[in-house]
Point group: C2
Chain length 274, copies 2
């Protein structure tokens, strides 16, 4: 009767052992960049995680709480990554959620030291064999049930920096850890993510940027051919900003293309490969 109620590798464990985030993926997250001793885009990230939380029936903590903890956790660091997770509270077994309350988990990670060429000359990507499943009730949400991204990442090629995922109809959705844009017939295209995929904070910023620059833009479902025959293409996330695509399987581009360059300049993301 002295047995502890949870063991990790044979040792008693507390903390997150009962978390619904761990057991069911019942939570949401966002990844924040700290660079040049500055935490970027906190307000936008808070708005995104709040929208996602609401979609799962979770009540996020106040912005001030998360901001203060992110600042304290990253204090004294010139650059790092802060990941914020909101995990539905409750330690009971069973899928049914009993509360909208959530626990907040903040973690600090080192920032990857990516080569400057990824920004100045573009990256290599490949099309993943795995197709993303369609779940409109979860599409766009940055939630913790991310096993499809793990499976896709098992296909990784050593020479590549990103894998591009399609839906079951073969339409491009995005990178395993990024959103995807391309320029076709002079128009900026991005998938609408109504049936699968994740709506990143940086995707919103790019959409706003394109609007401010007066770039023609279409958000919708697009066939693979539109991407494969594009004049230029790039991926985005909150850490990298924009990475132009130089290679996507058989397609080769001179990267960055002129539209990508305009967006990179207008975006003002701190990481530019300098």
């Amino acid at each position: 009767m002295t047995a502890t109620a949870a063991w990790l590798n044979g040792e008693p464990v507390a903390g997150l052992a009962y978390s619904r985030g761990l057991h069911y993926g019942d939570g949401v997250f966002r990844t924040l960049l700290k660079y040049s001793s500055q935490l970027f885009d906190f307000e936008r990230q808070y708005q995104k995680i709040g929208t996602d939380a609401a979609a799962l029936g979770l009540s996020p903590p106040p912005a001030a709480t998360l901001h203060a903890e992110a600042e304290t956790l990253s204090a004294g660091r010139e650059r790092c990554v802060i990941k914020i997770l909101l995990l539905r509270s409750g330690a009971d077994r069973g899928y049914r959620p009993r509360t909208t309350a959530c626990d907040r988990l903040l973690l600090r990670y080192p920032l990857n030291d990516d080569p400057p060429e990824y920004w100045s000359q573009g990256i290599e990507a490949f099309r993943c064999k795995l197709s993303l499943s369609a779940q409109p009730a979860l599409a766009g949400i940055k939630h913790l049930s991310r096993l499809e991204q793990v499976l896709a990442s098992r296909e990784w090629r050593e020479t590549a920096q990103e894998g591009i995922l399609c839906d079951e109809q073969g339409a491009p959705v995005g990178g395993t850890r990024s959103n995807l844009f391309w320029v076709d017939s002079g128009v900026l295209h991005t998938p609408d993510l109504e049936r699968c995929g994740v709506k990143g904070m940086m995707r919103d910023k790019i959409l706003a940027c394109a609007d401010a620059l007066g770039l023609p833009l279409r958000v919708g479902p697009w066939p693979w051919a539109s991407l494969a025959s594009a004049a230029e293409a790039f991926v985005t996330n909150s850490l990298i900003g924009i990475w132009p695509l130089r290679v996507l399987d058989e397609t080769h581009w001179t990267a960055p293309g002129p539209v990508t360059r305009r967006l990179m300049d207008a975006l003002g993301h701190p990481r530019k490969g300098e």
Copy 2:
């Protein structure tokens, strides 16, 4: 610079804070019944979790290790639930798995004190509005990315004991926490789970039982009408064994039906509502 690298609700946290199980749902689990001071079906459960682990590229620990820990964790308890999770090892950020090694997390929970009538007179179920997405690469696997089950469980009706999930084509897949069988035209039916759903240990036992009893059986994709017009129906999992269905929306049955009763008798599951 004294900040700890992970905080839970404002306090430093260790243990599972960096687990890929928590961050990505990158792991598998099984739920074991201890009843009358006996741990049930360990070998079958180990075989199932091992198959699931292999599908994700995970190397499970030896059966003897898990069995010894399950026994110790449940020692002195007449009845309880032991949940075993295998979580891919590694604390790095990023979807790409770097190892096949996994951490084992075992937890003890109280066993629900379900009313005897659930076995002797059947339960009430309803059809969930949420459709399960189709992902053949994950179908059948009892993995930790279970947010669809959480969403479905948010539809819960107070009078019901289970929700039945369909795929996007409207074909029945299973309960939120159970597998589903029915008798149509004298033949036992169950969904094949090739595109979604979870293959429970008890499902395997029922299939073996039906075979031993010489019951005609068909495993495949079936339309909703086959279930709704069935002569009898039941759900199964490792804790309950078999619960006959008494109500499914507009369909009412006298439960348990004769085939269900034969299977309940042959199964020899310790929980019979006595």
